[in-house]
């Protein structure tokens, strides 16, 4: 096993360990385990980053040209953003969702063929890594806002129905969850916007047109519109709380379709195979 594969396996394992720690912290009410979990995740993203570095130096180019790489990079973005949010809001409960998600994404990544795809020379540009990184970080932010939204709705239900289960005790306050949702939205939206713009510029350098109504582009625009509407609603009419939570869940479903569904169902030039064919 090469260094690259070894780093990948260790990272996956570390995400699993962090998941267990966060789950233990949640189930047995041992906050200490959550604190350890946080540091384990920090080690995880450092190793994960070095995996990308090794990959870059052996294969060259931006390591996000196959499904294997994309998923892995997404997991990295997710964990990174979570740790940043955790710094601000102390959300170890959310760790019990994020760490397992990162682990599962890594497993999917491991299951998809690990090939280093040689990028079509036409597509080689500094805009490629920029476009990918912005889009993926944006996606990760929206994934977290989705998580916060789900947690908000659960806690909301608990408070409204006046059932005070263990879950109620564990989940953070509505105010924190709403703030997380808003923070993720306000991080994710500019990232996504810049991601789309950089993609358009990249397309222009490659093919001479900014926008070609490729399925991915179309769906990305729809999703972007949804998030724009949510941000607008929040800033002007005071959409918050439950409405905002529901909105981020729906918008994320669209995002998920844009991210994965389009590639798997609709095709177009954003599919991984087409990177070389074109």
């Amino acid at each position: 096993m090469g260094t690259m594969a070894l780093l990948f396996s260790i990272t996956t394992l570390i995400y699993l360990v962090a998941s267990i720690l966060y789950l233990v912290a949640m189930i047995s009410k041992r906050p200490r385990a959550g604190q350890i979990g946080r540091w384990v995740l920090v080690v995880g993203i450092i190793l994960h980053a070095s995996h990308f570095a090794v990959r870059h130096s052996t294969a060259g180019g931006t390591p996000v040209t196959s499904l294997h790489e994309s998923l892995s990079f997404f997991a990295w973005c997710l964990v990174l953003l979570f740790l940043l949010l955790d710094l601000r809001f102390r959300l170890s409960v959310m760790g019990a969702f994020v760490a397992p998600l990162a682990f599962v994404v890594m497993i999917f990544s491991a299951c998809s063929p690990d090939v280093v795809i040689e990028l079509n020379p036409v597509l080689k540009s500094w805009l490629f890594p920029v476009h990918i990184t912005l889009a993926f970080l944006g996606n990760a932010a929206f994934a977290l806002s989705f998580g916060a939204g789900v947690m908000y709705l659960i806690q909301y239900r608990m408070l409204k129905s006046k059932r005070f289960t263990r879950v109620y005790q564990l989940l953070p306050s509505l105010d924190i969850l709403d703030k997380v949702n808003y923070t993720c939205l306000s991080i994710g939206f500019p990232l996504m916007t810049l991601g789309i713009i950089s993609g358009a510029f990249w397309a222009n350098t490659a093919w001479g047109t900014y926008w070609r109504w490729d399925p991915k582009e179309t769906w990305a625009l729809i999703t972007w519109g949804l998030y724009a509407a949510q941000l607008h609603g929040r800033l002007t009419i005071g959409w918050r709380g439950r409405k905002a939570a529901i909105f981020s869940i729906i918008a994320f479903i669209f995002l998920l379709f844009t991210f994965l569904g389009v590639n798997l169902l609709l095709g177009g030039y954003h599919t991984f195979e087409s990177f070389t064919v074109l």
Partner: protein, 431 residues
Amino acid sequence: MNIVIVGLSHKTAPIDIREKVAFSPTAMEEPLHQVLALPAVSEAVIVSTCNRVELYVISRQTDAAITEIKKFLADFHNLDLEILERHLYDFEGVAAIQHALRVASSLDSMMIGEPQILGQIKTAYGYACEYKTVGLILNRFMNKAFSVAKRVRNETAIASNAVSVSFAAVELARKIFDSLENKTVMLIGAGEMCELAAKHFVNNGVSKVLVTNRTFSRAEKLAKEFDGIAVSFDNFREQLHRVDIVLSSTGAPAYILDAKKLKQVCKERRYKPMFLIDIAVPRDIDPAANKLDSIYLYDVDDLQGVVQANLKERQKEASKAELIINEEVVQFQNWLATLEVKPTIVALRQQMEQVRQTEMEKTLSSLKALSDKERKAIESMTSAIVNKILHHPTHVLKQTSTGDDSSLYLDTVRTLFDLPGLAEQKTHPKK
């Protein structure tokens, strides 16, 4: 030396008995000295709260001590011993240690985990110290009880959930707003529970209090208490959009706030959440308001539900606490046992040393021709004999000090060597 506890609590005695047996906190000297004067008692602490009266004493003759204390309680309070005895319980030894630690850790309280009992026992111990009725053992024991109570509090979640309605309200508010800083509370009407809840909110960071009442002067009076603002009852609704938490307890026969009005308020607040607590019966606020997205409406029953759920949680935590206590009971019992062994060993050594000295003098007085060197040799030889003989018995006594038959060995040694009884070796200041 044994710890003995005699007493009664809410579990064994109704209020009309408890109030007769309670000791006045302003006159503790007299009863404490009377208990200490009992023949079988060598140290004493009296704990007296509204839910329990317990006497913690140290005694060598536990049965006698129990009888004497029961009689004292009846005599002191002019009660019929036979009736009183039905409500009294007594513990000795390990059971007494365990009972006291459970009481201090609030496991025996009416409301498990309530924090007052520890303070009450500390006060009781304070009196005992002041009137010098505690000695080595109870000093150590009471401090042990305090540290165990602290440990239970820190290591279990026994006291972490609110079990009073007013605290439950604060806890709920925290799940909605996270922090109560810069939040505004409005009190509608004046009820004791409302005021109490308002106090808790203020103590937990709420910065602004508005008070309204049908009688404006009462609103003003209450507002003054909270450093708040009195609002006239006719237009309190116009202030609602500024309010995050509403505490309502008027005697109004019908709703004073309907869902329609609250819907409008929500809009004015740009859907910032609002927590409404309706303590009034009949209710003040239309329950339909709870259907509004940003309104969280709780009535008395809902809050009681929170309290019940928390109590259940506490009971679960209590079993964890029991484990901690069992561990500490063993530790303290071991300490107590070594306490008995040391004086016995010392007495045994003294006895032997005395025999040696006497015999040495006798022998040396008839052997005048010995040189100093020879005298020294005999001296060290006799010392060595004593040490050699005592070595194994001492070792065995130390070894068995933590076992069950520790006192058996001690009694045997005392009888065999005719050592003075430990009863005369006082651990306390009794003259």
